[in-house]
Symmetry: C2
Subunit: 115 residues, 2 copies
């Protein structure tokens, strides 16, 4: 059952943060590193985990790997991402991530256009 694969992805804080940030748009690994303040291995492995289960898509852009939410998410995924959005509003971790993302936005835009 696909639904369970989704929930498996959602029961880790790092992955929740990644997904939550991705609802704002595509991003590459190094920016996630900066945003979450976590080591590269950790980010990379969690993104691989998400990718394997179809919660995330990736494409190469020179040296960068750009990760994004699926272009056409399943109903189940869409529903759960919406639910996460809803729930995340209550927690500081997520709010802080978005704040940092906003601050970093100009620099990210400068680095190169995603997509």
């Amino acid at each position: 059952m696909n639904l369970i694969r989704i929930y498996e992805c959602l029961c880790d804080l790092t992955r929740l943060r990644l997904l939550h940030i991705l609802t704002q748009g595509p991003l590459c690994v190094c920016h996630f590193q900066a945003l979450l303040g976590e080591p590269q291995v950790k980010i990379s492995k969690h993104l691989a985990y998400l990718r394997q289960r179809g919660l995330v898509e990736a494409k190469r852009e020179g040296n960068w790997m750009i990760y994004a939410l699926p272009a056409k998410p399943s109903r189940e995924l869409a529903a759960n991402l919406a639910c996460l959005q809803d729930c995340a509003g209550e927690h500081d971790v997520f709010k802080r991530d978005l704040a940092r993302l906003k601050k970093l936005a100009p620099q990210i835009a400068a680095d190169g256009p995603p997509g």
Copy 2:
């Protein structure tokens, strides 16, 4: 973070089935056994798991243990249960469970009133 405890509960099919059935009302272990066709240990342990994490409440009624969704679920739990409801509609396992529940309803009512 409470949210993660919730997702941890949701990434097992047996627990999803239990929760989904519970959205219809309280039930005791032996009825779950009949509905899911799973051994007592399995049901009991998964219910304990859910209970520890606050997804489910229990009270004794003679020999029976009646399990129910929390009287006042957190916003997060409520949101996720709603989402589960939404997603479960697509899967036969869940539909079959509800069908079986309907069939068993009279007998359950006869056994003794829950709540």
